[in-house]
Amino acid sequence: SLSEKLDSAFNKIRGKGVLNEKNIQDILREIRLVLLEADVNYKVAKTFINYVKERALGEEVLKSLTPSQQFIKIVKEEMERIMGGGEDNSLKLEVAPPAIYMLVGLQGSGKTTTAGKIANFLRKNFKRNPLLVPADVYRPAAILQLKKIGAQLNIDCYPSDEKENPVDIAKKSIDYAKQKNLDLVLIDTAGRLHIDEELMKELENIKLAVNPHEILFVADAMTGQEAVNVAKEFDSRLDITGIVLTKLDGDARGGAALSIRAITGKPIKLVGVGEKLNDIEIFYPDRIVSRILG
């Protein structure tokens, strides 16, 4: 863990007398390695360490009696600040119905399952009447997957046809929702690469057609270094409104959370914590910080 590594690093220094810039550098290196081992992006880790360095030097950690604890405190505070401590990360609901949400992200990140989870969550806690909309016409049995999830939850699922265009599916689903007095539309899109021009354009077209209130980037918590480039591209093309981090029920440290948050500045709204349809929680910055720091 970070505290163990810093304690041992400071113990080495203690014998040599007073703290100086050189051993601060050693301490900072230890912290940087912890972040990299937790999958924080290389450049994000570097920038983060500079914040910590400035604060450490500025707060006279050099004169502190408990420099190791002082450092940990600074690291935790800086990370929680970046993660959005104190920021409003609630889902947009106070809109003229239907509220329209769109789920986007790389292949296999958990979008379809998350669509079901969010529908269930908002019905349970905010008395919404959701409509699940399968807009993935490429993956075998993707439409059936969301249909089955809807059936499990007893939540309406738009009858998409895989021969239809996802943009048309999205448009028609809004009329369908209005007809049936459903006040929340969740559009599940196909997984895609951020470098697939045609498919990224498709997402832009869906956005243009239905003007979603939430564009949620669904990211796997175990993602490594590339989390930054992927998130940056989805954000720059779509101006995402929030992030959902999935599979946090595993033992991935989740450094991707810091990377994605640092590069997009967008709020992490929800976390997926299991395969069942009620395994979703609101995101709390302090929890992911202790996880990343080990």
């Binding site: 390695l33 958990g110 993956r139 249909k147 796997d220 270094q225 991935a252 395969e275």
Partner: protein
């Protein structure tokens, strides 16, 4: 001009960024940098190009050490496909089935993910595309029962290769890992030395958690091969270097897209060049 010392530090930092950014991981990166620094200090490397070549050499050394192809020396050759959620197991099975069929083998698939919504139908679609038979039961059936039926059927139908799809599961879920161990025992009841290949599917986007995944799946099942998927994206998949180095498991194939033909045999040289470009 920079003095030799600054040049070295600059080069070392560039290398560190290149390796870490490819998901090679801290431990392996530090090990490789150490070897490079030794050679620089012995003045055996004069520029970035030479340094990169040395790095290529060291990476290739790690990957070649455990490199081996699948040899179909049993009939039916039983492959059990496992891995965490969403890595590309079902799609990879579709690709493998097609590849083996095209090479003249009689292939049978088993839809042993009886848990996830539409998992059976998803694999059925792939079987249809490759024009291959599939053994399946109802959603919610015991996955081991499906595997048992499939192995029996493979024997009865004189099949060359049986590929068993399992539900994605996190390696930290003890009961789910037990379910896989049970499936392996059940398969052994029919064919004592089966499964002949336990294929772990890793996603190229995954960071250091791939090490923990490999460790746990290996401890539970004795993994004999790895497939790394989604290398058509921008992730470099450097995690296979650490994984193969630590566990000695060969990388069999890589997935490079979502279509049935998007599968390649793992080529260490091409892989290393892609990382270093």
């Amino acid at each position: 001009l920079l003095g030799k010392k600054e040049l070295d530090e600059d080069v070392i930092e560039q290398l560190e960024e290149l390796l870490i950014s490819s998901d090679i991981g801290v431990k392996t990166t530090l090990y490789l940098i150490e070897k490079i620094e030794e050679r620089i200090s012995r003045a055996k490397l004069d520029d970035v190009k030479e340094v990169k070549n040395a790095l290529k050499e060291y990476l290739l050394e790690i990957l070649m050490k455990n490199h081996s192809e699948l040899i179909f020396n049993r009939k039916p050759f039983v492959i059990m496909v496992v891995g965490v959620n969403g890595t590309g197991k079902t799609t990879t099975i579709g690709k493998l089935a097609n590849k083996y069929k095209n090479s003249g083998k009689k292939v049978l698939l088993a839809a042993a993910d009886t848990f996830r919504a539409a998992a059976i139908e998803q694999l059925e679609e792939w079987a249809k595309r490759a024009n291959i038979d599939i053994i399946k039961q109802k959603e919610g059936a015991d996955p081991s029962a499906v595997a048992f039926d499939a192995v029996k059927a493979a024997q009865a139908r004189d099949v060359d290769v049986l590929i068993i799809d399992t539900a994605g599961r996190l390696h930290t879920k003890v009961n789910l890992m037990e379910e896989l161990k049970k499936m392996k025992r059940v398969i052994k009841k029919v064919i004592p030395d089966a499964p002949h290949e336990v294929l772990l599917v890793l996603d190229a986007n995954t960071g250091q958690n791939a090490i923990s995944q490999t460790k746990m799946f290996n401890e539970a099942l004795d993994v004999t091969g790895i497939v790394m998927t989604k290398l058509d994206g921008t992730a470099k998949g450097g995690i296979v270097v650490a994984v193969t180095n630590e566990f000695g498991i060969p990388i069999r194939y890589i997935g490079v897209g979502e279509k049935i033909e998007d599968l390649r045999e793992f080529n260490p040289k091409e892989f290393v060049e892609a990382i270093l470009e």
